[in-house]
């Protein structure tokens, strides 16, 4: 049992080291991003456009659920009109980056790990190395850049949809006037703290994007043991991405707001 735990710890330390080195190599390869622009655009399309539907649904319903919960609580104090302000703060600061990151980790991150894992077990990665084609330049850098740039964009998009969802619930279930609601939203976003929330949210989205894409690529490139290994890499990439996103989410919130 002790040996099993020791091996597990060794595996995680090795994985963490491998992922950090992979990230550094990817940063170095950004210099060749112009030559890979078509691939980067393709990855942006996969991360952004193909995830739009699920992000839209989740964002609208998150806004509605949060709006209803907050509104019912505030109604006891006669403050249900404040849900616009509350939703704007929560969505821009925390919920949108977090929600978008989790959705993309489960949908696109897992697909990246599975794709690279399959390439690894079918010797396609070996073939690239033998042709002196750097897999980091050819495969990892376009995925990390494409994915990371799309997460902040989707954060803004999901914030807007979440606020709209909250507005609909506020109007029909709590009787909050649209004008009051959106006046609160625009006042908050136009204020200095509101802008700070927005920028912090975008920054979080960017960091989450880098974390998820690099972890997914790292697991994909370390895949062994055929189909079972691909399944394991996919599952672990999602689980570890979730954990690291939660951890860094807390660290960033503490850093910017404490």
């Amino acid at each position: 049992m002790n040996i099993f735990i020791l091996n597990l710890i060794k595996e995680y330390i090795y994985g963490a080291g491998y992922t950090i080195i992979l990230l550094l190599k990817t940063v170095v390869q950004i210099k060749s991003s112009f030559f890979k622009k078509n691939e980067i655009i393709h990855q942006m399309y996969i991360a952004g456009i193909s995830s739009l539907f699920v992000v839209s649904i989740v964002a609208v319903f998150t806004g509605m659920i949060m709006g209803l919960n907050a509104g019912l609580g505030l109604k006891d104090f006669g403050a249900e009109g404040q849900i616009g302000l509350l939703l704007t703060i929560t969505l821009t600061r925390e919920m949108s980056p977090f929600m978008t990151a989790l959705i993309l980790s489960a949908s696109v991150g897992s697909a990246i790990a599975a794709e690279l894992g399959t390439m690894k077990v079918s010797e396609e990665i070996d073939a690239l190395e033998v042709m002196s084609i750097d897999p980091v330049r050819y495969l990892v850098m376009p995925r990390v850049l494409g994915f990371s740039t799309m997460v902040p964009v989707l954060c803004v998009y999901s914030t807007i949809l979440g606020i709209i969802g909250g507005a609909v619930v506020g109007h029909f279930q709590l009787g909050v006037d649209y004008q009051i609601y959106f006046n609160d939203v625009s006042a908050r976003i136009g204020s200095v703290p509101g802008l700070k929330d927005l920028y912090v949210g975008l920054f979080k989205g960017l960091v989450f994007g880098v974390i998820i894409s690099i972890i997914s690529c790292s697991h994909g490139l370390r895949t062994t043991n055929g189909a079972i290994g691909v399944g394991k890499a996919t599952r672990e990439s999602v689980v570890i991405s979730f954990l690291v996103v939660i951890f860094f989410g807390y660290v960033m919130t503490a850093f910017f707001y404490r």
Binding site: E123, D126, V130, S132
Partner: protein, 257 residues
């Protein structure tokens, strides 16, 4: 003549399993060396050492007189630029067409572009009889065509060394012979040095200048096809005759490479 591929006392262990136990191999320029042996004895691992994809625990692999195992990445890339590899499944990039796969090394290393690139790629595709499949994705073509596309891709940079990992595995007898003739043709017309890992005795006899027989991670016999046929080594005899009874136990022939 100085060998251009050399494995010198290579040892390799994966986990608790010793795969190579002092592997020695010398391949001369223009020669076709076939590596034979039961599964799990280190044939494919040997090939990975020659490509520099695997680093030995002990010993060295020298290609063109330079160590591919311990050289810096730049030297390793220079050596690999003079080398082509056919992987068992072809290892084509699955979202690129056959044409784009063959063009990949030229595009990535900016060795050719435009009409020049097209000329080189089409020449290789014609050579391998793949022109009709040039727009197909790897998922849409047969195993034999994938392997031919893999060879076409390996040939685009005019390599001096070609390494084949089980080139005839999974192919019907006719297609296997097509591959054997192709390997012979490449040696004759392009003067490439080849190392072929195979289980296929008929193929080995047809293409080999010399055969190295590996058992339990080391070469136990090396000679011409005629010499191996006359070998008195009981392991070699059992393998070439495909007999189930003999010194080679099932345990040894069922391990994974």
């Amino acid at each position: 003549m100085e060998p251009i591929i050399e494995m010198i006392n290579v040892h390799k262990t994966f986990g608790s399993r010793k795969i190579l136990k002092g592997m020695n191999l010398r391949v001369k320029k223009g020669e076709t060396m076939v590596i034979l042996g039961p599964s799990g004895t280190g044939k494919s691992v040997s090939l990975k050492h020659i490509t520099g994809l695997t680093i030995p625990d002990e010993g060295d692999c020298k290609i063109f007189g330079k160590s591919i195992s311990y050289s810096k990445e730049k030297i390793r890339k220079e050596i690999r630029a003079r080398m082509g590899v056919l992987f068992q499944s072809g290892a084509l990039i699955n979202w690129l067409s056959v044409y784009e796969n063959v063009a990949l090394p030229l595009r990535e290393h900016k060795l050719a572009s435009g009409k020049e690139l097209d000329r080189i790629v089409m020449e290789k595709l014609r050579w391998l009889d793949l022109v009709h499949a040039k727009d197909n994705l790897p998922g849409d073509i047969s195993g034999g065509m994938k392997k031919r596309a893999g060879i076409a891709r390996a040939l685009t940079t005019n390599p001096e060394i070609l390494l084949y990992d089980e080139p005839t595995s999974g192919l019907d007898p006719v297609m296997s012979n097509v591959f054997n003739e192709l390997i012979l043709r490449m040696q004759k017309e392009l003067h490439v040095t080849s190392v072929v890992v195979t289980h296929d005795m008929q193929s080995a006899y047809m293409i080999a200048d010399r055969i190295s027989f590996i058992y339990e991670g080391e070469v136990i016999f090396c000679g011409t096809p005629d010499q191996i046929k006359e070998s008195s080594n009981p392991l070699v005899i059992q393998f070439i005759l495909g007999e189930t009874r003999g010194p080679m136990t099932l345990d040894h022939s069922e391990k994974k490479d």
